[in-house]
């Protein structure tokens, strides 16, 4: 709109104003996002410990990272957590969305109940579940009172199982989100398709499995993206629920990074681990955005 004669009647200021208005945000993201990513990348090639130290050490921090047992525990935990959390939240969320789509009375109230955990901080969720799952007075005591005297539940303090408590709490918090996304998708599907299939004698579960869910493939992929993104960034919940413990048994890359960079004076190592997190997110997001843009261009 800046090249034709139609623009002649508004002046110099009007042509430059949009650029001037956008400039602060452009500069903020250029410097404080992209500049900082570069700076952080540079730090990951230096010998920085407590303080930044710009002595170049090449890939030494990455070598140290890949040789660190704790890092691999965190990576393994992330894999386990991501798979279980995504599968669990998807399963529960899709199931609830389909049920809610059956012309349910009080749908609004139920939706409100399913979604309220999303308004909570992960720290609140973590604190609540820490109390409910604690081995002394929590779930275990409840089951004992109910007569299951041999019931034990020590996952919170058991290094082999602590990461699963994070999965439980994360699923509780985020499955409503999946429900909301899929319900919106279901509402977008033309009712006449379902009616036609019903007339053909197909059962409702079959209609959902063969017709409705395949039509929601885009919703499925964007939900998958969002949940993986939540999983990779997960930090608060672990800090509040297990603090990464016992030991470092429930560490995730995000808590590993925090510990190294801010409490153990291993700045270079922390920087290297955050670059690995960025690379993981980029590996997921870039192909996704690319395919989104391409399909949009095709129309």
């Amino acid at each position: 709109m800046s090249n034709t004669n139609g623009t002649a009647h508004y002046g110099f200021a009007e042509r430059w104003l949009p650029r001037v208005v956008l400039a602060p945000s452009f500069l903020l993201s250029l410097v404080f996002i992209y500049g900082f990513i570069a700076w952080n990348g540079y730090l990951s090639f230096t010998a920085s410990r407590m303080l930044p130290n710009y002595e170049w050490v090449g890939l030494a921090q990455y070598e140290a990272l890949f040789a660190s047992e704790r890092w691999w525990v965190a990576v393994q935990n992330l894999g386990l957590f991501a798979v279980l959390f995504i599968a669990g939240a998807m399963g529960v969320g899709i199931f609830l969305a389909i049920l809610l789509d059956q012309k349910i009375r009080a749908e609004g109230a139920l939706r409100t109940i399913y979604l309220y955990p999303l308004a909570l901080s992960f720290i609140v969720t973590g604190t609540a579940w820490k109390w409910m799952l604690n081995p002394g007075l929590g779930l275990e005591k409840l089951m004992h009172d109910w007569g299951f005297t041999s019931f034990t539940f020590d996952w919170l303090v058991n290094p082999d199982y602590s990461i699963y408590t994070v999965v439980i709490a994360a699923m509780w918090q985020s499955s409503g989100f999946v429900m909301a996304l899929f319900l919106a998708g279901l509402r977008g599907i033309d009712d006449s398709i379902i009616k036609a299939a019903q007339i053909d004698g197909a059962s409702l579960p079959r209609i959902y499995w063969r017709i409705v869910l395949p039509a929601l493939r885009p919703v499925f992929f964007s939900t998958l993206m969002i949940l993986s993104h939540i999983a990779i960034k997960s930090f608060d919940l672990v800090m509040a629920l297990t603090g990464g413990g016992p030991g470092f048994s429930s560490d995730l890359p995000a808590t590993f990074m925090y510990q190294m960079a801010f409490t153990r004076g291993q700045m270079g190592l922390g920087a290297a681990s955050s670059m690995m997190m960025l690379a993981t997110v980029a590996a997921l997001v870039v192909p996704y955005l690319y395919s989104e843009l391409r399909s949009k261009r095709r129309g």
Binding site: L142, Y258, S274, L278
Partner: protein, 285 residues
């Protein structure tokens, strides 16, 4: 056939109710635990109703509970969060609105690139920004201050707010802008007289979204604050993880509820807009 239909109806409603109980149970446990005394907690179990309701745990969580060495309760951290949230939400929303306006109605050569650049910020794991940001805040004397936290939240919130407004403004017909221009209205006049009065829904969505995000943030809070500037999430985490001889779960639960209260109130009052923000954030571009 009709019998069978009724049966499945009952199964559907039954499952939905069980799910509702599953989501509500932690809230129920938090509420009941917070009004019990420790003796009662030890005597009963998670689900037992409080026999003797007491708000002692609430008052302790608010004003005297220890979060490490200092025993001030959550009170100061609550006000820190308020002091952080208000300017951070206002600034990031205002910037998002004008950015969205330019990116949808005043595009210029390169504005799409700027948009893509800002958009990618939605996806970045903020861990990559922490170390340089800590250095920079220190350099400008904003380390461990509420001002510093506001700055960080504005920078990192820009991506979402810009996206929200841009996607909303794309739906406003260009003809409206053209007509206003023919009448001699300029950039700001069009924004304040035409665009802004049409923006109430998206303003509500954005303000609620940013409020919830920033109030609930823990990562920036724990990295960029000290005793005087700690937000409530960090206060709560310290309170719940302070190792005292006796774990006071009633105080923990009261504290968690205090930290959750503002966002729950917003959710109850304007849940529709909150959910719209969630799904808008999800369906990007």
């Amino acid at each position: 056939m009709a019998e069978q239909g009724k049966f499945w109806r009952a199964v559907v409603y039954g499952s939905l109710l069980i799910a509702a109980v599953y989501y509500l149970l932690p809230l129920y446990v938090m509420l009941t635990t917070s009004v019990k005394s420790m003796e009662e907690i030890r005597a009963g179990n998670l689900l037992s109703l409080p026999l003797d309701i007491t708000f002692a745990a609430w008052s302790k969580a608010w004003s005297t509970a220890c979060t490490g060495v200092e025993c001030t309760g959550l009170q100061p951290y609550f006000w820190n969060s308020v002091a952080m949230v208000v300017p951070a939400v206002a600034i990031s929303t205002a910037l998002g609105a004008v950015n969205g306006y330019v990116l949808s109605k005043w595009q210029f050569r390169g504005s799409e690139v700027v948009f893509a650049m800002i958009l990618f910020g939605v996806f970045i794991p903020f861990q990559v920004l922490l170390l340089p940001m800590a250095q920079t805040l220190g350099l400008f004397g904003m380390a461990n201050s509420i001002t510093g936290l506001v700055f960080v939240h504005v920078v990192c919130g820009l991506a979402s707010t810009t996206l929200f407004f841009r996607n909303y403004y794309v739906g406003i017909p260009d003809e409206l802008i053209k007509a206003a221009r023919l009448d001699g209205a300029g950039f700001w006049r069009i924004f304040f007289r035409i665009i802004l009065p049409m923006s109430t829904p998206i303003l509500t969505v954005t303000v609620i979204w940013q409020f919830t995000q920033i109030w609930n943030d823990f990562l920036f809070g724990v990295v960029f604050s000290s005793i005087d500037s700690r937000p409530i999430t960090v206060g709560l985490n310290n309170l719940a993880n302070t190792s005292t001889s006796v774990k006071e779960y009633n105080v923990d639960m009261a504290a968690a509820l205090i930290a959750a209260l503002p966002t729950i109130v917003v959710y109850v009052l304007a849940g529709k807009y909150f959910v719209r923000g969630l799904t808008a954030g999800a369906v990007k571009g």
